[in-house]
């Protein structure tokens, strides 16, 4: 019974309570930040900020329109980071979270290359660095609670529940307010489907969510190529061995004559 979260961008008021709750629950330090020209702070996720609110001012019919979007790990159904990790330090739990096992990590950062959402962050300042990313509060979920961020959210923009219920709720909102929402649930197909879903009244690219992603899991490309590799290796070995035996046989036949 996997869990999901629905992020309704139309309900987010940009309070950043989710950021504070996340830092509090995970015991992350406060960071010194610089003015980035926007009210979102910090400007992106990093090794001590698993989630951030990003701000976008757009043009509406009646003037400027503000959008606030929470960004965090998407907890993909078939995570590219987990497929890419050479030591299995990232795994997908049955109840939804993609979690990181720091005890297994070697710091190769290949997960950072593989993630289509550019989620995993690295502790560049540490002598013995780890990867850092949202945990979906997997321990809280196992204890029957909801994640810190969804619990804190005052406006109902974050809704935690069973995946089927969340998907139905999302579809229901799109159906009952077709003029309000764009007719697309972001995360239903992207990168093979994610546990965290977004519905919005503005283009997802406006919310800094990539719309150029494929509809299947990204791990597949590399895995297909890897599947070919043993055959190629054996083929080369067979060709060389075959040539050697044939040419060797020719020489031996010539010698006999």
């Amino acid at each position: 019974m996997p869990f999901s979260v629905l992020i309704d961008v139309t309900k987010c008021i940009g309070c950043q309570g989710c950021q504070v709750a996340c830092k509090g629950w995970n015991g992350m330090p406060a960071d010194r930040t610089a003015m980035g020209g926007t009210i979102g702070n910090p400007s992106d996720m990093d090794s001590s900020a698993y989630t951030v609110m990003k701000f976008r001012e757009g043009e509406g019919a009646k003037g400027p329109v503000w959008h606030f979007t929470k960004h965090q790990c998407m907890h993909c159904k078939s995570p590219a980071c987990a497929a890419a990790c050479p030591v299995g330090a990232l795994t997908k739990e049955t109840d939804g979270p993609v979690i990181y096992h720091k005890g297994r990590c070697i710091g190769c950062r290949y997960c950072m290359l593989a993630c289509p959402f550019s989620v995993p962050k690295f502790e560049w300042k540490a002598a013995l660095p780890y990867i850092q990313k949202c945990t979906f509060c997997s321990e809280r979920i196992k204890a029957g609670m909801e994640p810190a961020c969804t619990k804190t959210c005052p406006s109902g923009a974050l809704l935690f529940g069973k995946s089927d219920d969340i998907m139905n709720t999302a579809k229901g909102r799109l159906a009952s307010h077709p003029d309000k929402y764009l007719n697309h649930i972001y995360g239903a197909d992207e990168a093979g489907g994610t546990s965290w879903l977004y519905i919005s009244d503005t283009a997802f690219s406006e919310l800094y969510l990539r719309e150029d992603l494929e509809k299947f899991a990204y791990g597949r490309h590399a895995m297909d190529a890897l599947g070919m590799a043993p055959a190629v290796g054996l083929g080369v070995a067979a060709l060389l061995a075959g040539f050697y035996f044939i040419s060797g046989r020719k020489e031996r036949l010539n010698e006999k004559e």
Partner: protein
């Protein structure tokens, strides 16, 4: 000259020590937007292609019976082994937790392209060590003759491993199609990395032979140089055909930025088409200088390709940029200088001990 090299090596070792305590952020300009940079591109991905010459030369000499290549096998094998050793050293420098890197052997995760890259690298290097043992074992005649007996299977095994290894290096980047501009991504990266490694390796063989010949280590057999150069040309044609076809099919002739466009055009023309054209000219093919020039251009092309995939073609969010820091350049140069120094020293020692100059070896 020697003093400068030793001083630089000491500086490099101090840098290694500093990195161990200060972390990667202090010695690189890498960031969450650019997790892999100069050392990965140059000292791991490009250096790995230079080692590819050893399996081609060994296959030519031992499987295809090109006896003129036999004197070349040991030096090229040594060069390949040192290239791989420094790939591993650069990897330990670049990886975040080098003390835990053994987990790649004990806790493998089979869907990872990086795992298979590491395993084939280790396997290939181990086979190279076995192939090189006769060169260094002088008192153990029994072991040496056993290894000599299985020479051909070892060469076949190393060729198979090398082919898989070079292709897994390209497979790595198949996991990131949305992070790399079309010019350096696409579905054929594994084939392209493999096909470009062969001319790069052969180009390195030509350059190494010429340099060794020039400094009196071995006389460079001009016929061998010509044949190696010719093989390099053939594989370069094959590589360029596939690369250009791939770019045409995907309509991918853009490098993502002005720098990227210039880089791409330079890589394809100066590093791909120009050496091909040069090799068609008889004077180039028949002279050492001409072959070295064509080889250098080929290596430049492969170098630009690897840097293209890792750095130039890596998509950064607006406002972010990456240029390697001074310490990254120093680290990269250190690995190169140390590798070349070690090769020069080792090949000199081995030549003195057991290796006869080609003048005394009968050439059929």
């Amino acid at each position: 000259m020697r003093k400068a090299v030793y001083s630089f090596i000491i500086i490099g070792l101090l840098l290694m020590l500093y990195r161990a305590f200060a972390g990667l952020g202090a010695v690189t300009a890498l960031s969450d937007y650019q997790p892999w940079g100069l050392v990965k591109a140059v000292n791991i991905f490009f250096a790995a292609t230079l080692a590819a010459g050893s399996f081609v030369v060994a296959a030519a000499a031992e499987v295809f019976g090109a006896r003129r290549f036999r004197p070349l096998v040991r030096p090229v094998l040594l060069m390949g082994f040192i290239c791989h050793t420094f790939v591993l050293i650069a990897l330990l420098y670049d990886v975040g937790r080098p003390l835990d890197v053994w987990r790649i052997i004990t806790n493998p995760h089979g869907t990872s392209a990086l795992l298979w890259t590491a395993w084939t690298e280790v396997a290939y290097t181990s086979v190279m060590v076995v192939e090189l043992l006769p060169e260094v074992l002088h008192g153990r005649a029994g072991l040496v003759s056993t290894i000599e007996k299985v020479k051909v299977p070892l060469v076949v095994l190393s060729a198979a491993l090398a082919v898989v290894y070079q292709s897994t290096l390209g497979t790595l980047f198949l996991a990131s199609p949305q992070h790399i501009v079309p010019a350096w991504s696409g579905p054929w990266l594994n084939w392209l990395f493999l096909l470009s490694a062969v001319p790069a390796g052969l180009g390195m063989v030509v350059i190494e032979s010429s340099i060794s010949g020039r400094y009196g280590r071995r006389s460079a057999d001009p016929v061998v140089l010509r044949q190696a150069g010719g093989m390099m040309g053939v594989f370069l044609v094959l590589y360029m055909l596939i690369r250009l076809t791939d770019l045409v099919i995907r309509g991918a002739f853009t490098g993502g930025s002005r720098l990227g466009d210039v880089w791409l055009v330079t890589e394809l023309c100066v590093g791909g088409l120009l050496p091909l054209v040069l090799l068609l000219v008889k004077r180039v093919r028949e002279t050492g200088a001409g072959l070295v020039a064509a080889s250098a251009l080929t290596l430049l092309g492969v170098f630009m390709n690897r840097v293209g995939v890792t750095i130039i073609g890596w998509v950064l969010p607006p406002g972010a940029s990456y240029f390697p820091s001074a310490l990254e350049f120093i680290a990269s140069a250190f690995f190169i200088v140390a590798a070349v120094s070690l090769y020069w020293y080792a090949s000199g020692r081995l030549a003195l001990k057991a290796y006869h100059l080609p003048e005394t070896q009968p050439l059929d």
